[in-house]
Symmetry: C2
Subunit: 331 residues, 2 copies
């Protein structure tokens, strides 16, 4: 079992997110997000030998938990920041989530997107009225382009995960889950940049008595596992996983929370991710993205560890590249 | 527009299904089936220009509406029939649904399955404790094998659609939908053998004031369209559609109800079915089978006709052959 268990609690950075701040965050964003359904599957429980509840953020606005953090970040801006708007670089769910939040708050949004972003994602961001600037598809180009926009517009940069308001927003998914299921033994969340996992860990710490939090990470993008093990951030080198939401590496804020409040990071392989994704499609009739499937893949690979336990899984989203799946159907 | 509108009401056969019988049917099966959720998608409404509610039988037991009819057929047996059990021939959802209903009623179930049935489906039927007899993959072999079993066991043959108890059971999906949305202009249901469509039409007739019912059929399997147009059953010749649940032709009982109570049969092409299926996966994050997608495909192809109308769609099931979809993911 590839299992990186926390050996010592490192307090690398003061955690500014109190229990009250999470309560306030939830109240702030509640009317703009879905309290997503929590689903169960008797068949999957029988196959896995434990009792799983799925918090379905695939049914969240823009199809992912990212709506929570983005909404909180925008609604937490000061008056003078609001006028100038927000900006970010993202090819994925954060871009849509921030564009949507800005539209709701009636402020400008500037999104830097790599030139090779899919047309579906570009259209979605456009439909929320955001201004898109295209750049080359590498981190340096993204950051340079973003900095120019900040200089020109004075917009506030909302980082996709390494931002306290984003982390607090993502935490509300687990807060809701625990309101329905208070005595879970474990909650498993996928870990990419760590926004969802750190939020999950904070909500479990404040709103549950004994729920341990586990990060699910693909072996092919194991920076969180290595960072957790070594007590320092070790970014991924050429990560290569089907779970495209988990390619990013931890930031200092998310890493700090993860070190203090997460119980373990566990690794899963690519075939398990695909098998878990297929199992959820097949038995639950819901569409989940590969990143979400990583959490169930962890249970598939470690059935003894979770035997007879009550486990919550955060289904992070449902934005799958369906072209790949559906091309095989065309005649 | 390929549209076969009812020109005259033919009463070919006495309809034995009264309003009270549908109420009794629903009460009989209620505790063994799900009252499935009714979902909406703002994005799909915007794309289609009308207001659609989806009755999600993909979340039904065994993943399809077939659980309703099978449960009703089994619970409607006489005492002496119950002892001898039930039988059918089916490679699909009806086999599972009947096996499950028999297990609940604690009676034997004998299922004739073509030798080339998928292992997943064979296992599902086995897991419900049914006795499977394999036969060659053609209708004659199925019927011969079934007759032998009936002779030997005295089990009651439960036809997958041409059976009043089956039709009454399938009708309960629309009864539930109308309890939530009473003033729909149209309800669209896919039509294969006609069990779902005839049940849909009966519930609309008894439980709605002005809701018209439309059957959705692939152009490549247009027997219901032709039969409806010509006033007599014209079976499909070599139907060839991705909507594998719609390959069967009408029976005399389902045709009789459809002639009396259905407003129109409309045709859709294969690309629309695939596009509609993809759209539902993408926007609603739910897994539906191609047969279900035919109903949405009808709207896609006839936007003017449904403009600004309130339309109910019966999502018949979610049992997709995921091997085809997921094989493209493997590296």
């Amino acid at each position: 079992m590839n299992y990186s268990k926390l050996k010592f609690k490192i307090k690398r950075m003061e955690n500014p997110i109190t229990k009250q701040r999470l309560i306030n965050t939830h109240n702030r964003i509640r009317e703009y997000i879905h309290n997503t359904p929590v689903l169960k599957s008797e068949q999957i429980n029988n196959l896995m030998g434990c009792d799983i509840v799925f918090k379905c953020e695939n049914f969240q606005k823009v199809g992912a938990f990212k709506s929570r953090g983005a909404m909180n970040a925008v609604l937490s801006l000061h008056k003078d920041e609001l006028i100038k708007g927000v900006c970010t670089h993202s090819s994925g769910n954060h871009a849509q989530a921030l564009a949507r939040a800005a539209k709701i708050a009636k402020i400008p949004a500037y999104i830097v997107m790599p030139i090779n972003s899919s047309q579906v994602k570009i259209n979605a961001v456009k439909n929320y009225g955001a201004e898109i600037t295209f750049c080359e598809s590498n981190l340096e180009a993204r950051e340079t382009t973003l900095n120019k926009i900040v200089e020109k517009t004075g917009a506030t940069f909302i980082h996709p995960y390494n931002n306290w308001n984003i982390i607090a927003g993502q935490a509300t998914a687990t807060k809701e889950l625990l309101e329905e299921y208070e005595s879970l033994n474990y909650i498993i969340a996928p870990v990419g940049g760590g926004g969802l996992l750190s939020g999950t860990a904070l909500s479990a710490f404040y709103f549950a008595d004994k729920t341990k939090v586990i990060g699910a990470e693909p072996s092919e993008a194991d920076d969180a596992y290595k960072s957790f093990e070594n007590g320092k951030i070790i970014p991924s080198k050429n990560p290569n996983t089907i779970a495209d939401g988990l390619l990013t590496s931890l930031g200092d804020k998310t890493f700090s929370i993860i070190q203090q409040y997460v119980d373990a990071i566990m690794l899963c392989d690519e075939n398990s991710i695909i098998a878990a994704m297929k199992l959820v499609f097949e038995r639950m009739k819901i569409v989940i993205e590969p990143s979400s499937a990583a959490a169930l893949a962890i249970i598939m690979e470690n059935k003894e560890y979770f035997k007879n336990k009550q486990v919550g899984i955060i289904i992070s989203g449902g934005n799958v590249d369906l072209d790949i799946l559906f091309n095989s159907l065309k005649k």
